[in-house]
């Protein structure tokens, strides 16, 4: 029983990170119909920014965290405006290749600027556990879950209750009609990319203490995020978050209770989930069925 609770809590921690990155993927997919393969590398790059503020410029953790979020937002907006918008009407393949180009650029840039050396990254949460009877609960996992939950809630409030949030939702659903009421759809999409980059930055900064900082650190996480997004529904923000949590907890429990899986089959299991969901129910658990148009 104690192990079960511990695995669940650990799963909530890792699942929160998958959820954040998955939500970023879904946001961009809803807004621009594109899968941003560079989401993980952007997250990694912004995490390096945080690291350099702390390690090389002596900033304290939370100010660096916030500054990184601002940087990430501007980065996301910039990329949408400069790289994605010019090819807005191009084929899916063209845009996919562009995001692949971004993967190379961010990965290379990180190695170029900070070298490929593996580095430690500080965590704002103490590396201790709470003891409740026989159960040890990691403060790191709980803290991670709480931060992501707070961020998701803040985003939800933004989308539901603000004028810009409404305009963003409208732009994603019906760009033409949005233009007619005066919404600058291009900038709305850019804000969407900016918010996605912020989510990625949070995912990166929360994952780095455990994964350690190096240019390739987010690649596995990106795949888990894909699995979470596909599981939850690639067009459903709620699905992305739910999918992430489910995946995190599920993989942990699977690895713990099913011997065949073990630790090194987590990734293939996640990939298997992607394949099975795509084949059986492509819209995921919470998405709307995809309709075929002639």
């Amino acid at each position: 029983m104690a192990n079960f609770v511990q695995q669940v809590v650990a799963g909530l921690g890792s699942g929160a990170i998958y959820a954040a990155l998955a939500l970023a993927l879904v946001l961009i997919h809803r807004a621009t119909g594109v899968i941003n393969f560079a989401q993980g590398e952007m997250a990694m790059f912004t995490t390096y920014i945080c690291w350099t503020l702390i390690a090389n410029h002596g900033w304290r953790y939370w100010p660096a965290f916030v500054a990184t979020l601002v940087f990430a937002f501007l980065l996301g907006v910039g990329i949408q405006r400069v790289v994605i918008h010019p090819v807005a009407n191009a084929s899916l393949l063209t845009i996919v290749i562009m995001t692949i180009g971004l993967v190379l650029i961010f990965n290379g840039l990180a190695a170029l600027i900070w070298s490929a050396e593996i580095r430690a990254f500080p965590s704002p949460f103490p590396n201790e556990t709470w003891q409740i009877g026989t159960v040890s609960i990691s403060q790191q996992d709980v803290g991670t879950f709480a931060v992501v939950l707070a961020l998701v809630a803040a985003l939800w409030a933004f989308f539901q209750f603000t004028k810009t949030g409404l305009a963003l939702r409208a732009s994603a659903q019906n760009p033409e009609a949005s233009r007619l009421v005066g919404v600058r759809v291009g900038w709305m999409l850019a804000i969407g990319w900016g918010l996605a980059a912020v989510l990625g930055a949070v995912a990166g900064m929360l994952a780095a203490p455990t994964l350690f900082l190096d240019p390739n650190m987010m690649q596995a996480t990106l795949i888990y995020a894909f699995a979470a997004a596909v599981l939850g529904g690639i067009d459903s923000p709620f699905g992305a978050v739910a999918g992430g949590i489910l995946l995190g907890v599920g993989l942990n429990l699977l690895g713990s209770y099913v011997d065949v899986v073990g630790a090194d089959l987590r990734l293939p299991v996640a990939l298997l989930i992607i394949l099975v969901v795509l084949l059986v129910r492509p819209e995921g658990l919470f998405g709307k069925p995809v309709q075929r148009r002639v």
């Binding site: 790289v83 010019p86 063209t94 170029l112 900070w114 070298s115 596909v230 090194d264 089959l265 293939p268």
Partner: protein
Amino acid sequence: MKRADGIRVLVFLLVAAGVFLLPRFVSDFRAQQFAYVGIYFIALLGLNLLTGITGQISLGHGAFMLIGGYTTAILISNGPREGEPPLELLGHQFTNDMRDIWTIPLAGLIAGLVGFLFGFPALRLRGIYLALATFAVAVAAPALVRRFDEFTGGGAGINFFDVPGRTKSETITDPITFEQTETQIKILWLQIPSFNEWLYYLCWTLALVFYGLAWLLLRGRLGRSFRAIRDSELAAASSGVNLARYKTLAFGISAFYAGVAGSLLAIATTFVNPETFPITLSIFLLVGVVVGGLGSLWPLVFGAIFIHFMQIEWAQSTERVIPDFLPVLGAIDTDLPGAPAVAFGVVLILIMLVAPGGVAGLIRSARLRLARGYGRAR
């Protein structure tokens, strides 16, 4: 129509002649490089068939190359464990003196079969969903290879440098003068002085053969059906095109090509391990098809060149560029890891912005402009 075809065949023969004469004029090292270009060319021909002509995005062709490469490795090396009893499968013993080139068609067939079978579940997926599914396959393949290490040698892979089935030149050291000479590789009546040259001829013979095969396949009903599916599945189906048959066929044929390419890659590098066919290979293949030009055939050579040379040459040429904002960000390293990746990425984005149709697209618009100019001159 007949005369245009006749001209095409003539051009093809001239090009083939040029390809065969090339090693006379270039160094051994360059011959090896061109051999790799040939390997990628074959893989791109296959991927293009699926993605460019039939319109099914695949981010997983590295996995088919992996199947081909590992098939060759296992067949000619008798599996990862030397000195142990030969590999047994369904009662047949694989001894390790199978000649490497005979494994190529087998590698292609097995990869092709897997691709064909993958085509069935893939029938239900389109666009980004298919891309994600094939992406998952490409990531899973190396991981699965690691897991099932009795067959595949796990993380260490299979090294078959010393296997008798390998075509190679021997270095004979004269016991008295200690002079080293390489024996020549004998193929039929030809004597090829080095391994790299032999590799070049092997790869490009197959490349030309498969190019011709692709060209023939696409001229007839097969090509028409593939293109119809790309343009509109619903319209194609209502016109009587059997979607299931042609889509799985497209997957199968393209996987066959990739399997052959993977087999050649294994022969070229003389070993395979999970890192030989990583996810980046699948991604680069897709990039190569787009750079060459989706739906085109011979311009894919440019895509192959792009994939191969960019990875190597940029590593040397970009070291000259030293950004001077590095100290601000706390960097201390002076040799530049990552620079080739950045350059590659920037070039890729620029190509997508400026020439999304790839080299083939540029050729097309150049032709159009020439035709218009010619028309005006008259």
